[in-house]
């Protein structure tokens, strides 16, 4: 009997040892694999229990972690002026994921960036909780508010303001917008409900920042680039007289390219670039596109940033100027910003930046500095050159050409007395409604003042009827110029 009891002991001990083996396997040998498992949300949960760094504008937080006792997590992400910054900050949400700056700056904000390694090590010994770094943006709060106020509710529009000398983004606003706080709630069901409501808003995607993520036809605002291409070639200079017929057939087609029927273009059958650019005549660009050829356009657009990867630090959707299987007719259309020529609002702002800054585009950037919890500055991006878009001479020519639209052409409604604004408008036909109302994308992009450019401003209105678009784009541009120069 005792022998049996001893054997029972051996058997039970063996089973206990097997359990210890299993525990060792889970907690030591296989721990890494389990921690990396896709189903494992513990890292994310831990993040939600730690103070996350703030995102600051003018030193004031627009996104910050505040302590909460909702029983689920220690901190709740709170957004100040959420509608104003929704497309920049994005949201930090358990249920809906993390987007925009909250996602791009995650390593800084959570403190897991390698630059904060020392702080984490120190924290292990002092027992202090790891805190994330704060990120100050280049955004100017007043300009951001002005842009937000300038865009009428109900329009689908974006405003981008940058400093052409540094590439700093001073304002980037899009409407329609949403309250990021609604998506950052901890309750999964409430977050899902709010997400559904926000997704139903027409023209809004909570995942996309329209100023850098929407690709739309630039219309005539693209003529900045077409004209650069023309002036760079041996065929054209400021004095070249170009034919300006009311309409012209596309190569190998009975379809015609027309000048705007109500416009002033019709007054001259031939003109120099000054008149053509100011009145935004189309037909001369037929000739220009045929003379220069596709390769020249591909070259210029690439220098201006088309098709290139850019992080500001959000990832900017590359603008498109397709070069594959393009016919002469399609090239002519693309030369006036139609067909498959698709750009982001930021891309057209970069075009204005290039002209303002003697042909050099500075890399657009939104991060001013990153500050560790102990207020030590860990990162302060320096202005960086993005590309040489064109020569200073051509840039100077364009600068003078862009005076025309504001002084006597299509951008007159944006003029502000006392400020030398240079700009180019654009109207890209999208479709025609059944009652004949043309629906367009309306653009205006430019910079001011001409002698020492402080800002490059771009206004984009998507899917709007022609009259509203043209009038409002100019009006928004005017308000932005007034806001910048305190007029």
């Amino acid at each position: 009997m005792n022998q049996a009891i001893k054997r029972v002991w051996v058997a039970l001990t063996a089973m206990f040892l097997i359990c210890l083996g299993a525990l060792s396997y889970i907690q030591f040998f296989n721990a890494e694999t389990l921690n990396d498992n896709a189903l494992n949300k513990r890292q994310l949960f831990r993040e939600f229990d730690l103070p996350r760094g703030a995102i600051l504008v003018d030193g004031k937080p627009i996104a910050e972690s505040v302590e909460t006792d909702d029983g689920q997590f220690n901190y709740q992400r709170k957004y100040t002026d959420p509608e104003l910054y929704a497309h920049l900050t994005g949201y930090y949400s358990l249920a809906n994921g993390t987007t925009q700056l909250e996602s791009e700056l995650n390593d800084w904000l959570t403190g897991s960036s390698s630059d904060l390694l020392f702080d984490r090590l120190a924290g292990m010994f002092t027992g202090q909780k790891a805190e994330g770094a704060s990120v100050e943006l280049t955004i100017d709060g007043k300009l951001q508010q002005a842009a937000y106020d300038a865009i009428p509710d109900g329009l689908r529009a974006s405003v981008v303001v940058t400093d052409p000398k540094t590439g700093e983004i001073l304002s980037m606003v899009s409407k329609p917008t949403f309250d990021t706080n609604d998506l950052a709630v901890h309750s999964t069901s409430e977050a899902a409900k709010n997400m559904k409501k926000i997704s139903e808003i027409d023209g809004l995607s909570p995942y996309v920042n329209p100023a850098i993520g929407d690709l739309v036809s630039p219309g005539s605002s693209f003529k900045i680039l077409s004209t650069v291409a023309a002036l760079e070639s041996e065929h054209y200079d400021m004095n070249t007289v170009i034919k300006n017929p009311a309409s012209v057939n596309y190569p190998g087609s009975s379809n015609t390219m027309n000048n705007f029927y109500e416009g002033i273009c019709g007054r001259r059958s031939e003109a120099t670039l000054e008149f053509i650019f100011a009145q935004s005549c189309n037909t001369p660009y037929m000739e220009i596109s045929q003379k220069l050829g596709l390769e020249k356009f591909a070259d210029v657009t690439e220098r201006f940033g088309f098709g290139q990867q850019l992080d500001i630090p959000q990832s900017v959707t590359p603008s498109q100027f397709p070069t594959k299987d393009i016919t002469a007719a399609q090239l002519a259309q693309m030369a006036i910003g139609q067909y498959n020529n698709k750009v982001t609002p930021l891309q057209m702002n970069m075009a204005a930046m290039a002209i303002a800054n003697d042909g050099v585009i500075m890399k657009p950037n939104m991060v001013k500095k990153v500050t560790a919890p102990d207020l030590r500055v860990i990162e302060e991006p320096k202005p960086e050159k993005f590309s040489t878009a064109t020569t200073p001479e051509v840039a100077a020519d364009l600068k003078s050409l862009m005076k025309g639209p504001v002084q006597s052409g299509t951008a007159m409604n944006a003029a502000v007395p006392g400020v030398d604004l240079r700009a180019k408008t654009g109207t890209a036909q999208v479709k025609t409604l059944e009652d004949g109302t043309p629906i367009v994308n309306s653009w205006i992009t430019g910079f001011a003042p001409a002698d020492d450019p402080q800002v490059a401003i771009t206004v984009t209105i998507q899917q709007v009827d022609y009259n509203t678009g043209h009038n409002t784009a100019g009006a928004i541009m005017k308000k932005m110029v007034e806001a910048v120069f305190n007029k």
């Binding site: 009997m1 005792n2 022998q3 049996a4 009891i5 001893k6 029972v8 002991w9 039970l12 001990t13 089973m15 206990f16 097997i18 359990c19 210890l20 299993a22 525990l23 060792s24 396997y25 889970i26 907690q27 030591f28 296989n30 721990a31 890494e32 694999t33 389990l34 921690n35 498992n37 896709a38 189903l39 494992n40 513990r42 949960f45 831990r46 229990d49 029983g71």
Partner: protein, 465 residues
């Protein structure tokens, strides 16, 4: 083979010292939980440990009076495990805003007081042998109680609960004890008949049916639990107890083999035919399949437990530093995973070793007991404790499918606490019986201790003649 007999020593002072140590372990756990979670109710832990200490002292004093030769290690280990369990339940409470720990403390008090009552009322475990068939009857009643309409209740898919006033009880927990008493009493009376009478088939000696009938009834009853009440864990436990008792009584490994074969056949049959068992097995085998992870009643519980333990790693996050509350049932079924996360592999190993030591001391009492009934009862009770631990730890670590067995003394739940504390009381009594000096007076139901098998065989030979 002769056993070296040393002069018996009570060792009650050692017990007192170890008890202090155990209370310090529990107190430290409470303190760490309080300081890590900034729980401002820090006086709480002094009160809790004070109550725990007072209760342990009652048992200690009773042992000094009634069973002064009882094993000095059993009580401190139990107190340490119980206190650690309380601390973890308190910690989960703080995170979830529940108040399970005060309930658990109340049940601890009830359990220890009942254990004290058992110590005082039973004094000598051999009395229990008189209740062999009453114990069988009690087992049947206890196991069938949850099936009575209005009284019984189904919680988490298992119909093993009854509602008594504001409490939910699992009467099956107490059946562990009554079944052990029955098996021990029956087998100690009939082992010779079972061993000797009957036909020999090949290498196996099959007993006569009538000698085995009560055993078979008890076995069928426990299997019935699995089928009717859908409680896989208890079924494994009862079946294990049955095999163990027969093995210890007969010392024939063939019975174990037959028993294990029956487990395998029964298990495969259950897995193939019974929905809930099949689901359990599927969840166990494909735990990391995202679909099964997200399914209702899927593998989220076990997988989250594994993630938690992996998160804790070697040293753990520290008590109050992790997030064990993310695991469903973190304070009951999954409490081992909670410990694994917060005190790491090192800490959870210490807990497993405590359980191992406790079970070893129980089996040591069986080894030393001077009567067959005591040997069988102590083996049965110690094995019950050990098997519970192994089955639940194995389940949490995904060695075997997870079952709803309670981790003894730790998991939140009153019935299990009560039953396991009674087991401790009985083991203490048997160990006292085993270690006390020979009195020289031998009662009618007493047997002389049979320390070596050779002597056992001799005696059998004599009986056979």
């Amino acid at each position: 083979m002769t056993e070296v007999q040393t002069a018996p020593v009570p060792r009650r002072n050692l017990e007192l010292l170890l008890l202090l140590l155990a209370l310090c372990v529990g107190g430290a756990a409470f303190f760490l939980v309080g300081s890590a979670t900034e729980d401002n109710d820090s006086k709480n832990f002094l009160i809790q440990m004070g109550i725990m200490g007072a209760l342990a002292l009652i048992i200690h004093v009773l042992l000094r009076i009634f069973a002064k030769y009882a094993d000095p290690v059993i009580l401190p280990i139990t107190v340490a495990l119980n206190s650690l369990g309380l601390a973890m339940i308190h910690r989960i409470d703080l995170a979830k805003g529940t108040s399970q720990s005060s309930r658990q403390l109340m049940w601890t008090a009830i359990a220890i007081l009942v254990a004290a009552l058992v110590l005082w009322a039973v004094k000598d475990h051999r009395i229990l042998r008189r209740f062999t068939y009453i114990a069988l009857l009690a087992s049947i009643v206890l196991l069938l109680l949850p099936l009575i309409p209005f009284l019984g209740a189904t919680i988490n898919g298992a119909r093993i609960w009854i509602h008594v006033g504001p409490f939910s009880l699992q009467p099956g927990e107490l059946a562990k004890i009554t079944l052990s008493i029955f098996f021990a009493g029956y087998l100690s009376s009939n082992r010779d008949l079972i061993l000797m009478a009957g036909r020999k088939v090949g290498p196996l000696q099959l007993p006569r049916m009538r000698d085995m009938a009560p055993m078979v009834i008890a076995w069928l009853l426990s299997i019935g639990v699995l089928v009717v009440q859908r409680d896989l864990g208890s079924a494994i436990l009862f079946f294990g107890l049955f095999i163990l008792m027969i093995y210890v009584a007969t010392a024939r490994i063939s019975w174990v083999i037959i028993g294990l074969l029956m487990v395998v056949v029964g298990g495969v049959f259950a897995a193939l035919t019974m929905g809930h068992v099949e689901r359990r097995v599927n969840v166990w085998l494909n735990a990391f399949d995202p679909e099964i992870y997200q399914a209702r009643g899927g593998s989220a519980q076990i997988v989250e437990g594994l993630f938690g333990m992996a998160d804790g790693g070697l040293f753990g996050t520290g008590l109050g530093g992790g997030s064990p509350y993310r695991v469903p049932l973190a304070n009951s079924d999954m409490i081992i995973a909670s410990f694994g996360e917060e005190i790491g592999l090192i800490g959870v190993t210490a807990i497993v070793l405590l359980f191992m030591l406790l079970v070893s001391r129980g089996l040591r009492a069986a080894l030393g007991a001077r009567d067959t009934f005591g040997k069988l009862l102590a083996s049965g009770l110690a094995f019950t404790l050990g098997l519970q631990c192994v089955v639940i730890i194995g389940g949490v670590t995904r060695l075997i499918p997870l079952t709803g067995l309670a981790t003894p003394f730790m998991a939140a739940g009153g019935s299990s606490l009560l039953a396991n504390w009674i087991i401790i009381a009985l083991l203490l009594l048997i160990s006292h019986n085993a270690r006390r000096p020979m009195s020289g007076i031998v009662g009618p139901t007493d047997e002389i201790a049979t320390p070596s098998t050779s002597r056992l065989k001799d005696r059998k030979a004599v009986t056979n003649q």
